[in-house]
Amino acid sequence: MKWRDPLLLIAVVVGLWQLLYLYAGDSALSSPVTTARTLAIMLQDPRFLVHVRETLLAFLQGFLIAVLIGLAIGFALGAHAFSGEVGEPILVALYSIPKVTLYPIILLIFGIGMPAKVAFGAIQGIVPIALFAMNAIRNLNPVYARTARVLRLSPVAWTKELLLPAALPEVITGIRVGFSLTLIGTLLGEMFGAQRGLGYLLMQAMGLHHMPRLMALTLLLVLFAATVNALLLALDRRLHERG
């Protein structure tokens, strides 16, 4: 059954966690039960929810910008073959550099606050979204273009009815990757330079050596990221199977 394997995996992870806790003790780790309980308490605390809201707002805005700008760049480079050839290595280079090094520059431009946080996430997500969208257009099966001409479709009809549906699976993959990277970028920015948000709380718990809190926050972030990614992955796979 499909559910058996992931449940088994989770059980093994939690089991290892518990063993590690028994070995390392309270000063190094917090047990699974304690962590879960701490998280439950935190989620009912309105002061905590303020931080959740802060991170969520920053992340969602960053993601939206990454999608809009990323798709625009990707489609433009995909549609215009020469620009795509010129631009692809540049995009690939941008993809592989540690963009965290640009964070101080972002702070210089935006100052500390929400706009900077949005930027932290957005710059991480733009590049993969653009790359995947560009490839989706470039790798379009050439027989579709010829079919469109034989059927004498208008450019609008061709774009709407052929190009976009055919490109969709790859575009969604890019958006899925961009989602994860934007989240990581937002979090990273909060850990580096912020006074509110989950990343900030993470650093605070570290400074206070408050293990249950630290692990509860980590658990929350991991659960959120993994769950949404799993959903997007299911969508991604469905689209790719269909073709």
């Binding site: 394997d5 280079a93 090094t101 101080p104 570290m206 990221a225």
Partner: protein, 249 residues
Amino acid sequence: MSRVGRIRVLVLLGAVATLEALCRTGVISSFTLIAPSTIVVSTVEILASGRFTADIVVTLRNVAAAILTAMIGGVAIGTLLHGLPATRRVLEPLFATYYAIPVYAFYPLLIVVFGLGDLPQIAIGFLLAVMAVVINTMNGLDRVPAVLLKAARVQRLGPLATAWSMRLPYAAPYVFTGFKLCVAYSFVGVIGAEFITSSRGIGYEIAFAYNNFDNRVMYALIFFILAVVTLVNMSLYAWERRLLARRQR
């Protein structure tokens, strides 16, 4: 250089020239961005002064440690899992979701456990890089055609000989892709960790310069590390392309 290459260089030079002009004319203040030409000059000066050589060495050493452990660990784990299909299937959700998980969220935990030395940063670099190596190693071993393995059995080659003469040549390009990703991720992981919290290293010095309003040093170090990382990544990328191109025959 091809026409595409030349246009690309022109585009990049144009972007830099625009920034230069905006800085020189004061449209962008020097509190925000220092002119590119000045950045390049001060980078050379600052590097020559040797003030940050120790930090550069620390960072590069940690990156190297992350790369080494991720490659060895990743190839070992990948090969092992390839031989244990049931286990691999159970772990499949982990492979699919791994890179969505914010690895940096574990950094504070690692610091609490390992203390504030170099180990947490190497660990983050390792954690970020290892999965790419595992996945690519497994993919590479998948690609070995079954017919070849049958031929090996017919010729009565032992497991080691089979691995060396049959599996390795087919898996090699994928392992190299894993290596390329491993290098990129190790840099991202180590430097990112240095930014969040550390006591030395390039990331630490950039954050320090920022906090002390020292734009000159900050931009120089940012430029230096980006240049190094880009150079390394682009070389590996080009090498990979050549390896793959030769195999297309």
